[in-house]
């Protein structure tokens, strides 16, 4: 099956400011794909390119088998979009807007519309100008989720939702997934990404730095080890595979790259292990690592960068 989204080497500059440079993104059909990156990384800009709203400077882009710029209208029949900053027609009610957008797209699932309005506790009779931020977002979400689109493009859809609504959104996402819809989800909420996404792409400064499943990303990030030893082997200090080492009497704490785990454990065993805890990086560690190192492109980004190259070659 061909990919729903396939972006290669996308660049985009506005005048002399380059916003995207060498961005790669591929989303398989039926996949829920997380799209992550620090503020200003270029996520919304990429999405606007995918929607044919702005024209790429260079790169090859295929969206549902078409070209987002020249086939925009045809493609949009199969796409529903929730913008990061939802603006609505102030004098129309939420219900009117949902219906209008559905008719423009060519139809909606009326039962699903009503069910979603219920689930998101949206009052469809209010004029859009009187909606709160979260309620405007709900209007856009109900509109997108009740559409029959094959691909949902969601740009930080839950940034204004309360935790209860956020949970509702996750349930909806799971349903979409089992219904076989493809979702591109840009989000800063890591637990949401972890719960819903099959694969993620992380970009920084307009460039893809990582892409793969969460397990793959985890695998490429250091594991933290805490061990209580009888004696601390001198070798520990010398080993290049051991990072951020702290030694407090006989308690040792350090970080180890997963593929060097075996070697490090051998060294520890020499000191006589009384207690050992190893935990994989939390999702937060994972992202922080990629979000930081600002200023370095993937090639020279040291640790994270090496992995990204490695991963891009092996992940798919």
């Amino acid at each position: 099956m061909s990919d729903a989204v396939d972006v290669r080497g996308l660049t985009k500059s506005f005048g002399s400011t380059s916003v995207l440079s060498d961005l790669n993104l591929s989303v398989g059909s039926g996949e829920v794909h997380g799209f992550l990156g620090p503020n200003g990384a270029g996520k919304s800009t990429t999405i606007r390119v995918l929607l044919g709203l702005i024209r790429p400077t260079s790169g090859t882009i295929s969206l549902l088998g078409g070209d987002p710029w020249s086939d925009a209208v045809e493609l949009h029949r199969r796409i529903a979009y929730v913008p990061g900053d939802v603006t609505l027609w102030p004098n129309l009610t939420g219900g009117e807007i949902i219906d209008l957008l559905a008719r423009l797209r060519g139809g909606l699932d009326a039962a699903r519309r009503d069910a979603l309005i219920e689930r998101f506790e949206l009052d469809p009779q209010k004029k859009a100008r009187t909606y709160s931020t979260g309620n405007r977002q709900k209007v856009a979400l109900v509109s997108a989720l009740s559409s029959r689109a094959d691909l949902l493009i969601l740009d930080e859809p839950t940034s204004g939702l309360d935790p209860l609504m956020e949970r509702t959104f996750r349930e909806c996402l799971t349903e979409e997934k089992s219904a076989g819809r493809t979702v591109l989800l840009s989000s800063h909420i890591l637990s949401e990404v972890e719960a819903a996404c099959d694969r993620v792409t992380i970009i920084r400064k307009g460039r893809t730095v990582e892409t793969g499943t969460l397990a793959q990303l985890r695998h490429l990030t250091r594991t933290t080890i805490e061990a209580e030893l009888t004696t601390v082997p001198a070798q520990l200090h010398a080993d290049p595979d051991i990072h951020d080492l702290t030694v407090e009497r006989t308690t040792v704490r350090c970080q180890v790259e997963p593929h060097r785990m075996d070697a490090v454990l051998r060294i520890l065993l020499e000191g006589g292990v009384r207690n050992l805890v190893a935990h994989p990086p939390t999702l937060e560690d994972l992202f922080l690592e990629h979000y930081q190192n600002a200023g370095a492109g993937p090639a020279e980004a040291g640790h994270g960068g090496q992995h990204s190259q490695h991963l891009e070659r092996t992940a798919r």
Binding site: F14, R48, L51, G52, L53, I54, R55, A72, V73, E74, H76, R77, I79, A80, Y81, P83, D85, V86, T87, L88, W89, P90, N91, L92, T93, G95, E96, I97, I98, D99, L100, L101, R103, L104, R105, G106, P124, Q125, K126, K127, R129, T130, A140, I153
Partner: protein, 529 residues
Amino acid sequence: MTQLAGTGALIRLVLRRDRLILPLWIVLVTAFFAGTASSFATAYPTLQAQQDFIDNVVSNPAVVALIGPVLDPGVGGLTAWRIGTVGSVVVGLIAILAVVRHTRTEEVEGRQELARAAVVGRSAHLTAVLAVVGAGMLVMAALTGLALAAQGLPASGAFALALALAAVGWVFAGVAALAAEICSTNRAASGVSVAVLALAVVVRMGADVGAGAGPTAWLAWLTPTGWLQQVLPFSEQRWWVFLLFLIVTAALVGAAYAVRDRRDIRAGLLADRLGPAHAGPGLSSVFALTWRQNRGLLLAVVIGYGLLGLLMGSAAPGVAQAGAQLGPFLARLGVANGAEALVILLIYVFAEVLAAYAIMVTLRPRSDETGGLAFVLLATPTSRTRWALSQFVIVVLGTAAAMLVRGVTIGLTYGLATGDLAGQLPAAVGSALAKLPAVWVVAGVAALLFGLVPRLSVALSWAVFVIVLALEIGWEFGSVPDAVFAASPFSYVFPLSGQASLSAVLGLTLVAAVLGAGGLLALRRRDIG
């Protein structure tokens, strides 16, 4: 005083945001006023020449009703006469646009909330923009006064006239401030304010139907444009008239502050009611959506044009009875009497004013673009062409409806009053419709600018409008040659150039269509946002 906290910072913000447009307007307006005075001074250098001009042209009741009577002697009097009404409109528009932009628009787009969360008082935004507009008007007045005095006009008269123009600006800043507090959208606030401005001009026209001495002359005291005349800057210099300006401005501004104290942020004076939970069957296309967004303003314009048509058509015969001698002016127009000349000129002038509506509506997609609505709409299977075209259709049909209604109402009332319905009605309708292509060309220019240079399109389109008005006035008084006036689409439908020929009408329509199509093509090729 805590209500005003942060005003200083906000004043700097207003100045920063308007750092180009504000000086530009001041310079343009000053140049326009000074240019008018200089063209009179060159065209009519002697008192005798000035008197001849007044006898031949200004004694014509049609002209008097349109522009007002000449109340003061000399070049000063002529200048005050000629720029009084147009100057009021220009200054009023500037004040309205500036005040609404920095109050209700800020609020609707959520920026005011951001600022108000800082140490910024409830009334700081309003105060800041009023301070900037008020002071800007004073600067304009000082420059205009200097420029007029430099041309040899009596200095005190020059400054009195310039100050009176500034005072008109203050009143409309007050009108806009109050409207922005009462209306919950910036569009409604500007719409209401512009309507008040239009009404002010019409009431002034009503006052001058009897050449300044008729039974309706008292109407002049009801409108800021009338007060401007009554200052009599180059004869009596009634400084006490400024009290009127100040009292009314203070009352309007005071009311605005009072409303502001009583309402919530983002709310208008009236609470929003609930609406339908489902869209009606009609709301199912871009065209339906565009109609829904535009119908309020369109209906207001059409009804306004209809009412004005009724009013003027019935008032016009009175002009004939006020009975002026037929100047060569009428002969050039090719009409029998002052009343008919008035009817013809009123149709022409209101077509020119309609160009402002056409620009506003043509550029609406631009504000949808900056506001983010375009992203929502264009992410559906709606092509950019359909999106913009639906708006252009409103421009074409809306202006056509306004001119048709204007022609019918003025033709009907004037025809009934003169007992020549069969002759006047078709003539008025034909004359009204023949002006449309010129309006469309102006809209076409705005459409092209929207496609090509979206960021500059608003400022440039309004500059085009001002240039069209300036060419018109310059040409009427001989300082703009025919060849230059030909740059204005209105030159081809001006009543003096004979009946607008079929070729002019078709030619202008074609030009407008080409401009609009160019705008659509450019829109298809550029980034949105």
